[in-house]
Amino acid sequence: MAEEEKKDFWARFFGSYIWKSIFRVGIPRDRRGRLMQVLSNFFLHLHPVSLPKHAVKLKYTWCMGGLSFFLFIVLTFTGVLLMFYYRPTIEYAYNDVIDLRETTPMGIMREIHRWAAHLMVIAVWFHMFRVFMTGSYKAPREFNWCIGVVLLTFTLLLSFTGYLLPWDQLAIWAITVGSNMAAATPFVGQEGPGVALLSIGNVNLIGRTSDARFLLLGDTSIGAGALLRFYVFHCVFFPLIAVFFMVVHFWRVRKDGGISGPV
């Protein structure tokens, strides 16, 4: 009796007006239902409805592309949470990071964010390595490989800009090493070759306060300006661009013939 009532409840639940308005197709019980499940779901529409056998094998894909995307989601989620507690100013930044041990669940929100960031860099590299080793950059996927290279660059830029935010010794000196290289950019870096060319009379167009490093740091050395710029780059600007390229990357995977495989 109780059993029947239970069954009845779920049948009514899945058959309800509200449920059916959210999930247009019912519980998939046969091949057609399963196909419809993928076709009618926004989150699954990245996938085709069916795949060749080798495409779901771990030893072919290593899961690395998918994990890169998964880690990006984890990073976005933990990153947004961290933004509630972190203020990108010289007075507060370091202490806010210390306080994260007390203010976040189990004190590991920053740990998850940082280790996931390292892991994403590695996952993206291995994804590229896999795509290279299977020759998947070849026609018709040439352009998508290029988008992948752009995404790799943005992964590194995202990680690099995040490196400054804890505002500790490790952070500012690592970024000092990196941003000094910007000052050495040919023509537009103050210490780079060819700067002397860009002058009108005795006035140099590129100086300490108008070169590539200044653009990056908002100052001639790392300080409040750099911290705010890196924060905005890290939390808003680069993620937006990365998402844009990701959308194109995933769409092109489908449009360029789906996952690669032998013909």
């Binding site: 998939p28 399963r34 196909l35 795949l51 060749p52 056998k53 080798h54 495409a55 779901v56 771990l58 290593w62 899961c63 998964f70 984890v74 370091y94 210390i98 920053r110 740990e111 998850i112 940082r114 280790w115 390292h118 860099v121 590695i122 291995f126 290279f132 080793m133 299977t134 020759g135 998947s136 950059y137 070849k138 040439e142 490989w145 290279v149 590194l156 505002w167 010794q169 490790l170 500012i172 690592a174 000092t176 990196g178 000094n180 290289m181 910007a182 050495a184 950019t185 040919p186 870096g189 210490e191 780079g192 070759p193 060819g194 050395s221 790392i222 300080g223 495989g261 032998p262 013909v263």
Partner: protein
């Protein structure tokens, strides 16, 4: 034991280890048929069998954990931000083996006129994304998240003293994924190591599918049919990227001096370095003359060397051993391919010249062009 450690310290210096790795590399990853026949004769393809893989991993993992008994080694490796590099090292080894094993299996199948392992007969029914793929994604996500949470509980993220612009640490290191570029700073000026090389890497990677337009070898692991490109890619990825990251992270101590894996990072280690430009080397030491005042004349040997490297060698190769390759590629593709290859080769050459004759710059025109 100490003698053994000392020997390893000496051997791991880039002068020795990089050279040895660079030479051995082309036998392990043969770029041409001739190298491949050597590879077969030396039975090096055994590395990519299951037994070879187990031995390879046992050796590396065993050596790693034995080394952690050494306090100096342990002090460096267990720095929290060095953990990802250890992960990268083992991951690279594993995925390298996994891809090469599948490539060798497929090579054998293709040689027997069989289809590669990845091939599915079109008559076979396909696998449904719901539930087969969605399940895998779910499980992969859960495992990844579990590993992350475990890692985060076990290991605190590094946080040093508050930022102090007046107190620079020694050594000051870039984030670990840029350590290869920082290592290049030893041999090249910042505008090359920090700006030109990254641009060449990005542009080079993007141009790959437009250079390698050979139709076969897409969608399955293979080596023999694509050996030139795989070998060159591996050279860049394993030797010029991963290897240099490991050297930069584990073996570069105070003042960016080299330290063997079991050596203490001694602040006062003094390495006598009197680097000398090619111009002084030739004019002053070889010809016993003062340096000419005219910059172009002073630097003509270096400019000639650069010109020879980038402008003479590629056409020479096109006319001799790469004749067929050149005919297949055409002018533009061949030129881009050669520029990228010669640029990649120029790194080890400059490193080698630094180690042997303490060469500072091939061409030194201060404020303009130091190379």
């Amino acid at each position: 034991m100490d003698t053994l450690k000392h020997v390893i310290n000496v051997l791991s210096a880039p002068q020795v280890s990089f050279l040895a790795a660079a030479i051995a590399f082309f036998f392990v990853f043969p770029p041409t048929d001739r190298f491949q026949s050597w590879n077969r004769r030396l039975r090096l393809d055994w590395l990519w069998t299951v037994k070879g893989g187990i031995l390879l991993h046992a050796l590396v993992i065993g050596a790693f954990f034995l080394s952690t008994l050494d306090p100096n080694f342990r002090a460096i490796v267990t720095k929290p931000d060095n953990v990802p590099i250890a992960l990268l090292l083992f991951g690279t080894l594993f995925f390298l083996w996994l891809s090469m094993k599948q490539a060798c299996d497929n090579d054998a199948r293709l040689a027997n006129d069989q289809k590669p392992n990845e091939y599915t007969d079109p008559s076979e029914s396909k696998i449904l994304v719901w539930p087969d793929l969605v399940y895998i994604e779910l499980i992969a996500g859960i495992l990844c998240m579990a590993a992350l949470i475990f890692w985060s509980i076990a290991l605190e993220a590094p946080l040093e003293e508050p930022a102090n612009p007046t107190l620079s640490p020694n050594p000051a290191k870039a984030p670990w994924y840029f350590l290869g570029l920082q290592e290049m700073l030893v041999y090249f000026d910042p505008w090359l190591a920090g700006v030109v090389f990254p641009v060449i890497i990005i542009v080079g990677l993007m141009s790959l599918p437009y250079i390698d337009t050979e139709p076969g070898g897409s969608g399955y692991y293979s080596y023999s049919d694509r050996k030139l490109y795989v070998s060159l890619f591996m050279f860049g990825w394993l030797l010029l990227w991963v290897y240099l990251i490991i050297v930069g992270a584990f073996m570069r101590g105070p003042n960016w001096n080299f330290f063997g894996p079991y050596e203490r990072w001694d602040l006062h280690k003094v390495v006598a370095l009197t680097n000398i430009n090619l111009s002084s080397l030739i004019w002053v030491k070889l010809l016993n003359q003062p340096l000419p005042d005219n910059i172009i004349i002073r630097e003509m040997f270096g400019i000639a060397m650069l010109g020879f490297h980038f402008l003479v060698i590629p056409p020479l190769l096109a006319m001799t051993i790469l004749k067929k390759f050149y005919a297949r590629m055409g002018n533009v593709k061949y030129a881009v391919f050669m520029f990228l290859s010669m640029a990649a080769v120029s790194l080890p050459i400059k490193m080698f010249l630094r180690w042997t004759i303490n060469l500072k710059y091939v061409v030194a025109i201060p404020g303009w062009f130091n190379l």
